[in-house]
Symmetry: C2
Subunit: 341 residues, 2 copies
C-alpha cells in the first residue's frame, strides 16, 4: 500500500539494494559517508523494512507466544506484564493466546505455532490437559519452550514455579496453629502439577502435626463455577464442617467468601480461610484474606529474560531440564484469624 521498499530507496539514492541493506544494517564494509546518506534518505522517505520478507529470509520472527489458561486472573495478568516488559526491551513482539482451560483449544493454538510463526513459547497448561503430544511436538521441532506455574514435567526444559509444596505446608501449618483440627483443601484439578504439590504440602503438614488426612475434605473442583460453588456450599453446610479451608486458587477462595456470607458463617470465627492468591487488595476484603502470594511479575520477567537470552545470544545452550523456584510469601490477615482486620 503505502510503504517504500528497499529497491525504491536504492533507486532514489542511486545505489544497489544490497548496498542500502548493508548500510541500514550498519555493516562494517560500508563507508560512513554512504551510511549517513542512506540513513538520511530512509528517514526522509520513511522507509520501514518489511518484517515478513526479513522473517522469510532469516527464519526468525522476533516474536514469541504466551499460551495461558485465563486472562482475567490476577496471577496471569501479572505474569504477562512481566513478560511483555522484557520482550519489549529486546525489541520482540508478544502474541497472547487464551486456552480458557480447554485442552482442545490448547492443541489448536499450538498447532498454529508449529510453522515458525514464533521463535519461542512460554506456557502454562490448561488444567484439563492430561496428555502431551501437542506439547511434545513443540519440543521436538526445537522451538524454545519454557513453562511457568502449571508446568509439564514430561518435557525436559526449564520450568518456573514457586515453592508450592513448601507453601502448602506452611499455610496448612498456619491454620493448624490458629486452632484448626480439620482443614479442607480446595483443588482446581488433580491433573495439574502445582495443585498436586500444594496438596502434598497440605497432607504432609497435617501428618507432621499428627492430624488425619480425610479424603472427603479434599474438594476436587474444576468443571464449572456453579458446580464448584455447590461443592463448597455443601462442605460448609455439613454438620461436621471443617474449621479451616486452604484454597489452592484465588477464585475458589472468593467463592468461599460469598458462600459463607450466604450461610451466615463468620470468617474467621466459624471458618478460617487461607488461599493461594495474587489479589493485590487482599487486605481490603472483609476480613482481609490470608494469602500465599506468588511472585507473578518476577516469574514473568525471569522466564522472559531466559528466553530472550536464548534467542538473542549466540551459542546459548538449550534450556536445562530444571525447575527454577521463586518463593511465594505467606501474608497472614484476618481470614485465618491470625490478626484482626
Amino acid at each position: 500500500m503505502s510503504g517504500v521498499n528497499i529497491k525504491q530507496l536504492a533507486e532514489a539514492l542511486k545505489l544497489a539494494p544490497s548496498t542500502v541493506s548493508r548500510a541500514l544494517n550498519d555493516s562494517y564494509e560500508i563507508s560512513e559517508k554512504t551510511k549517513k546518506r542512506v540513513l538520511a534518505m530512509a528517514e526522509k522517505m520513511s522507509y520501514r523494512p518489511n518484517p515478513f520478507a526479513r522473517s522469510l529470509r532469516e527464519h526468525r520472527s522476533k516474536t514469541i507466544a504466551m499460551i495461558i489458561p485465563a486472562l482475567v486472573n490476577n496471577f496471569f495478568s501479572q505474569v504477562i506484564e512481566g513478560v511483555e516488559e522484557i520482550v519489549q526491551e529486546y525489541g520482540y513482539h508478544l502474541l497472547v493466546y487464551n486456552t480458557h482451560e480447554s485442552c482442545q483449544k490448547e492443541r489448536e493454538i499450538v498447532s498454529h505455532l508449529l510453522n515458525g510463526r514464533v521463535d519461542g513459547i512460554m506456557m502454562s497448561l490448561s488444567h484439563q490437559t492430561s496428555y502431551y503430544e501437542h506439547i511434545q511436538k513443540i519440543y521436538d521441532q526445537g522451538i524454545p519452550l519454557i513453562f511457568f506455574d502449571r508446568v509439564c514435567r514430561h518435557i525436559p526444559t526449564t520450568k518456573f514455579i514457586t515453592n508450592d509444596y513448601e507453601s502448602g505446608f506452611k499455610a496448612t501449618e498456619h491454620l493448624i496453629e490458629q486452632g484448626c483440627k480439620r482443614i479442607a483443601f480446595l483443588l482446581l484439578s488433580n491433573e495439574i502439577s502445582i495443585g498436586k504439590q500444594r496438596l502434598r504440602g497440605y497432607k504432609d503438614s497435617l501428618g507432621f502435626h499428627g492430624l488425619e488426612v480425610e479424603e472427603k475434605l479434599i474438594l476436587k473442583c474444576g468443571s464449572t463455577d456453579s458446580e464448584n460453588a455447590d461443592a463448597i456450599r455443601q462442605l460448609l453446610n455439613a454438620p461436621d464442617r471443617p474449621q479451616g479451608i486452604l484454597s489452592s486458587v484465588e477464585k475458589l477462595a472468593i467463592s468461599t467468601y460469598y458462600i459463607s456470607r450466604d450461610l451466615c458463617l463468620g470468617i474467621p470465627e466459624d471458618i478460617k480461610l487461607a488461599s493461594f492468591s495474587n489479589l493485590k487488595i487482599a487486605d481490603l476484603l472483609n476480613p482481609g484474606l490470608t494469602t500465599i502470594a506468588q511472585p507473578a511479575l518476577e516469574i514473568g520477567q525471569e522466564a522472559a529474560k531466559l528466553l530472550m537470552t536464548k534467542l538473542t545470544k549466540k551459542n546459548t545452550p538449550d534450556f536445562a531440564d530444571q525447575t527454577i523456584t521463586i518463593p511465594s510469601v505467606l501474608e497472614v490477615r484476618g481470614s485465618s484469624g491470625g490478626i484482626s482486620s
Copy 2:
C-alpha cells in the same frame, strides 16, 4: 529447520508446487482425487505453510495489535479477554503491547507497527498522550484502527466507549442523594477524553442540583502512585473535608480505602465513595464499593467483531467516524451509604 515446504511436498507427490498449492487452498480447478491425495500427504508429512511467505505474498498478516496503557488492570484485562476470544474465532493472531501510560513508549510501539506487521490496531491511549502525530500515521497508512475507552477524537474512525458523561452525572447524583453537599472528583489526567466526560457529568450534576463546583475539589492525579496518595490524603485530612468522593478510576478509589483506614475515617460515615471500576469483588470490600462498572468484555468483543468483519469481508466500508456507546451500570453498595454491606 524442521519444516517441510511446498516444494518437497510436491516432489513427494510427483506434482508441481502450484498444483499442490491449489489443492491445499481448495481451488475449484483441481480434481477431487488429487485434492485428497495432497491433503493426505500433507498430513502425513505434517506440512505447515510458512506464514511469512504467505504474508509477503498476500500483504496481510492475519495478525492484529492491541496497544493499551496497562495490563494489570481489571478493565483492560477484560477487554483483552473479549478481543482474544473473537480474534481466535477468526483464526487471527493477537499482539499485545503495554504503553505503561507513557506517550513515548506508545510512539515507539506504533512505529514498529507501521510496516505491515499487523492488519489492524485496537488501542486505548496512554493518559500522557496529548499529541497525535503517531496515531495520525497509523490512520494515514490506511491501517484499520479502532479506539476503545481512551479514544482520540481527532482521528475519524470508530470508537467504543461507555456513557461516561451520563455515568458521571448519575454517580454524582447518587452521592448527592446520599446527603453529600461537597463532593470531590479524582481525575487521572485532564488529557484523557473519558476523564473529561466523566468530569463534565460530575460538574453538570452538581449544577443541576444547585451545588457549587469547587475547583479545589477536583484532584488531578496521574504522575506517581505515591504523589496521588499524598494528594488524596491531604484532601481527606483537610478541615473542610468533602462528604463524598467520586473516583474516575479504580486505583484511586483503592488508594482512598487505604488512606481513610490510615486516617481512621469511616466509609461511608465520614466519607462516601463511588468509583468507576471493574473490580469483580467490589462487594467483598469493607464496605462494598459502589461502582460504575464498564462492560469491558463486551467492548472488547464488539470492537474486535467490527475489526474482524472489516478484515475478512470484501468491500467493507472504512470505519465510520462514530462513537459507539455501551452503557455502564451503577451498582450501589455500602461505600456510598446506599445500602449496608
